[in-house]
């Protein structure tokens, strides 16, 4: 009986094929002569079959949303803490910020080159469709606003964003990795500029 217990501890590895050949051979020999352990093996198989039915993957999580929530919790904790060990100034990665960035990306994807050409935007045709204001001169961004918004460094950031999103998001469906790789300064510049754009749109 004591010997049986020793063998039974090996049964799960036996079933998953993880047992070394030496132990497998010994167990095989034991199983031939021991109906009690044979019954145990059958019971274990049945239990694993039940567990397998439910062994679906855990519900999916939205990766970016998860990161944003972690960061929000950290930020909250920091603001309520008197003397945090670090003085981290996180890059303002709020959900709203992310949404604004995504919005902006979609806007610039429409016609980034168009917007970068100061004073040459055609207000009678898209790119202003996305504002629902096609052909309305009075509601389009002014040349001054465009020149303010699109400094060379912003253009560069947007260009990078566009290329990275196109490359990574569409090919690897991994936008969160793209966003995580942005440096703090990249993000701040981009987010501030884009927030301004968003305000102008409103």
């Amino acid at each position: 009986m004591k010997e049986c217990k020793k063998y039974q501890e090996l049964l799960s590895e036996y079933l998953t094929g993880e047992l070394s050949s030496e132990f497998k051979e010994k167990l095989d020999q034991h199983l031939v002569t021991c109906p009690y352990c044979q019954a145990e093996l059958q019971e274990l198989k049945a239990t694993f079959e039940i567990l397998e039915q439910e062994k679906k993957s855990a519900p999916a999580i939205t990766e970016l949303d998860f990161l944003v929530k972690v960061r929000t919790k950290i930020d909250k904790k920091q603001t309520s803490s008197v003397s945090p060990v670090f003085q981290p100034k996180w890059l303002g990665f709020s959900l709203a910020g992310v949404l604004v960035i995504l919005l902006a990306w979609s806007l610039f994807r429409v016609d980034i080159s168009h917007l970068t050409k100061k004073g040459t935007a055609d207000t009678k045709t898209p790119p202003y469709d996305y504002l629902g204001q096609t052909g309305q001169n009075e509601t389009a961004l002014s040349e001054y606003e465009l020149s303010q918004l699109l400094t060379p460094e912003t253009e560069e950031s947007l260009d990078r964003l566009y290329l990275q999103v196109a490359e990574d998001y569409y090919q690897k469906e991994d936008l969160v990795t793209v966003l995580a790789d942005f440096s703090q300064s990249d993000f701040k510049i981009l987010e501030n500029r884009i927030k301004n754009i968003n305000l102008n749109i409103k």
């Binding site: 039974q8 501890e9 799960s12 019971e43 274990l44 049945a46 239990t47 079959e49 039940i50 567990l51 039915q53 439910e54 062994k55 993957s57 855990a58 519900p59 999580i61 990766e63 998860f66 990161l67 929530k69 972690v70 960061r71 919790k73 950290i74 904790k77 060990v85 670090f86 981290p88 100034k89 996180w90 890059l91 990665f93 990078r160 290329l163 990275q164 990574d168 969160v176 990795t177 995580a180 790789d181 942005f182 440096s183 703090q184």
Partner: protein, 189 residues
């Protein structure tokens, strides 16, 4: 752009990211979250068997990691350290929840309808629920070993690093866990 691509093709190791974070580079921590969030969430979900609580708790794991990463000694792998936090939080959570709800598997057993219930979907839900309860009623060590071994399929050596027990003790715990699940799920066989 080329720098960016190079960096992406050879991602930083955990230790490099930790080092960067310890020097104040916040985005390095983001990368650790992105890398491990799914694994941590899955682990917590398997331990506590509740989706919404698992999400909150998995986020708490990273918040705790954020504040304790400065003390990370590099004596173990980062994921080992992170898993330990996740398991501890999960066990505490279950303990608190148990106190609130007074989960009793025996009550569940008593309330089980006849096995030949014609509604297959209902039966499937009952199986899931029974598995949840059976796992939740395992003692904490056995539950941790079972989740790491059965769901995460970690080798005993790695589980040993996470839980700080010998491989022999872990094998015995896993065996005990299986025996208990076997007993509690016998109605569904």
């Amino acid at each position: 752009m080329s720098n960016f691509i190079d960096k992406k093709m050879v991602p930083d190791s955990d230790l490099e990211l930790i080092e960067k974070f310890q020097k104040g580079e916040q985005h390095a921590f983001n990368q650790l979250v992105l890398k491990y969030q799914k694994k941590v969430y899955d682990l917590v979900y398997r331990m506590i068997r509740n989706n919404q609580d698992a999400l909150d708790l998995a986020q708490e794991v990273f918040v705790k990691a954020y504040y304790n990463l400065k003390d990370f000694k590099r004596e173990s792998a980062f994921y080992t350290w992170l898993y330990r936090i996740a398991l501890n939080l999960s066990i505490n959570h279950t303990r608190q929840k148990k106190l609130r709800q007074m989960v009793s598997f025996f009550e569940l057993e008593d309330s089980l309808p006849a096995k030949n219930n014609p509604a297959q979907e209902l039966e499937q839900n009952q199986i899931s629920s029974a598995i949840d309860q059976a796992i939740l009623t395992l003692p904490k060590k056995q539950r941790s070993v079972f989740v790491l071994r059965y769901y995460d399929q970690l080798p005993y050596k790695q589980i040993s690093e996470v839980l700080g027990k010998t491989e022999g003790a872990l094998k015995a715990s896993y065996f005990q866990a299986i025996k208990k699940l076997q007993k509690k799920l016998k109605l569904y066989r």
